[in-house]
């Protein structure tokens, strides 16, 4: 298996900082916005975004939630292995709020579709945007596109993108794996 680093730790952190500035342009003080990390690995990115925004704007009040999409997926009973559910923690209402949905990798668009479905259980938002660290281009199953992109990559369906987080893997890094 070949592996290539798509984002090294330095560029990883710079990318997160850049994404935060893009968010600030559209969300001002975030008083009408909420950030929702899709379980499991979108939550890591949501937490990094939160931490960075708090660095950039000291005293900012951010609402950050965790959303699990297991029960909304369209591949229930179609997979060989059972899906593991994760915790949902949404301690706020999203009615009339601007929702920033966050995931680590945007690939087929199926997770976002399930995420949108799951999110609607918590109210009717004014607007929904999608923020991702890595976008895998030309691989969509649904007509969906992210609004904020850390880095876009061309990849084959046989390749795999893996985001490493310091919380679990002790380093912030993105790699592209090619199976020979």
């Amino acid at each position: 298996m070949n592996e290539n680093v798509i984002l090294d730790p330095v560029h990883f952190n710079l990318t997160i900082k850049r994404l935060c500035f893009e968010l600030i342009e559209n969300h001002d003080d975030f008083s009408q916005s909420v950030i929702i990390g899709l379980q499991p690995r979108g939550v890591f990115l949501a937490n990094h975004i939160k931490k960075e925004l708090e660095n950039i704007i000291p005293g900012i009040q951010l609402k950050v939630g965790k959303l699990d999409i297991t029960f909304y997926r369209d591949d229930f009973r179609r997979r060989d292995t059972p899906i593991t559910a994760n915790e949902t923690e949404m301690n706020f209402v999203i009615e009339n709020k601007k929702v920033i949905m966050v995931d680590d990798v945007f690939y087929t668009g199926r997770s976002l579709r399930s995420g949108l479905d799951a999110m609607l259980a918590f109210g009717r938002p004014q607007k929904v945007e999608m923020l991702v660290l890595i976008e895998r281009k030309y691989s969509r199953d649904y007509p969906l596109q992210p609004d904020y992109i850390g880095k876009s990559v061309d990849s084959l369906s046989s390749q795999r993108v893996k985001v490493y987080w310091e919380e679990t893997e002790k380093k912030n890094l993105v790699k592209l794996y090619t199976i020979k």
Binding site: T70, F71, P82, A85, E87, V93, G123
Partner: protein, 310 residues
């Protein structure tokens, strides 16, 4: 999330400890779901479930129906009193007719012990036992243990007393199996006429003195005295039963600790439990009802995940 080791929920006896833990962990997620503003998930939108109730039931039937609807399953309801069963149709014929209408799962309550096992052997569908005679009532036992876990942190090493008509109770038998598998200590208490002779072989202690039993336990599961059994002369009168084996406030206040009070319902107020106890903070009877929906959602979800598509 793993997979259940069984294809049907026929009784607690067939489950292993890992199955029960998996059901509990899945139920934790569903408990969060049923407390959302919109309490519905689309997981079972292509599944049809038949609720076959050959015996009266209020809360179990409603709880299953609600669990099915919260999972977006299509449901059909059948009760024996308004069906062809009265015209002499056999159980298998009734069920096969319903299955011909492309039903994926069956939730069944039946007055005959073993009816669910019989059905699982003869029809091609996932079967969930919602109570079969005096045999088992697995979902009740699961929600009871789940409620103990929720209130006390775990079931392991907890001392649980099952009080009342143990002989005729499917809730008692399922609870004994579940609590044993989860590592709790179990004691039964009631009039000798309502305690089976060889119950100790199931690994439970027997105590006929209620005060001693209450002093021993952390949790008491009070069983309903089935009023229809009065004619069998198993105890002199309801009044005497209430005096000797009924839970009342004075008795509970005399203990040097607060124990958890549970009841599967429906309650006979003033017989096995007084109103002030049933409505007290120690009683978690209504929590049990809420947990029942989450537990049944978990079971339906986990069994449905084993249905092959196409």
């Amino acid at each position: 999330m793993g997979e259940l080791s069984v294809d049907h929920l026929l009784g607690i006896k067939q489950l292993n400890k890992e199955d029960i833990q998996l059901i509990f962990e899945t139920a934790d997620h569903f408990k969060e779901v049923i407390n959302r503003p919109i309490k519905k998930v689309p997981s079972l939108r292509d599944i049809t479930i038949a609720n076959l109730f050959f015996e009266n039931s209020t809360r179990t039937r409603i709880s299953f129906e609600l669990a099915e609807k919260r999972l977006s399953a299509d449901t059909i309801n059948f009760s024996a009193s308004s069906s062809s069963v009265k015209k002499g149709e056999t159980l298998i014929d009734t069920v096969n007719n319903i299955l011909s209408m492309k039903v994926d799962m069956i939730v069944m309550r039946h007055p005959e012990p073993g009816a669910a096992v019989f059905l699982a052997k003869h029809v091609d569908s996932r079967i969930i036992n919602a109570g079969d005679g005096t045999h088992e009532h697995p979902t009740q036992a699961l929600l009871d243990s789940y409620s103990i876990r929720e209130k006390l942190g775990s079931v392991k090493s907890k001392k649980v007393l099952i009080l009342g008509d143990v002989t005729h109770s499917r809730v008692a038998l399922s609870n004994i199996f579940a609590l044993n598998k989860l590592g709790a200590e179990v004691m039964v208490c009631g009039p000798p006429t309502l305690i089976p002779k060889h119950i100790k072989e199931l690994g439970v202690q027997v105590e006929y003195n209620l005060e001693k039993a209450l002093n021993w336990c952390d949790v008491v599961i009070t069983l309903r005295i089935q009023l229809e059994r009065q004619n069998e002369k198993l105890f002199p009168s309801l009044r005497e039963y209430a005096m000797v084996y009924g839970l009342n406030k004075n008795l509970l206040d005399s203990l040097n600790k607060k124990i958890l009070i549970m009841h599967p319902g429906p309650i006979n107020r003033g017989v096995e439990i007084t109103s002030d106890v049933a409505d007290s903070k120690q009683a978690i009877i209504l929590d049990q009802v809420e947990n029942g929906v989450a537990i049944r959602m978990a079971i339906l979800y986990l069994l449905a995940s084993k249905i092959d598509r196409g």
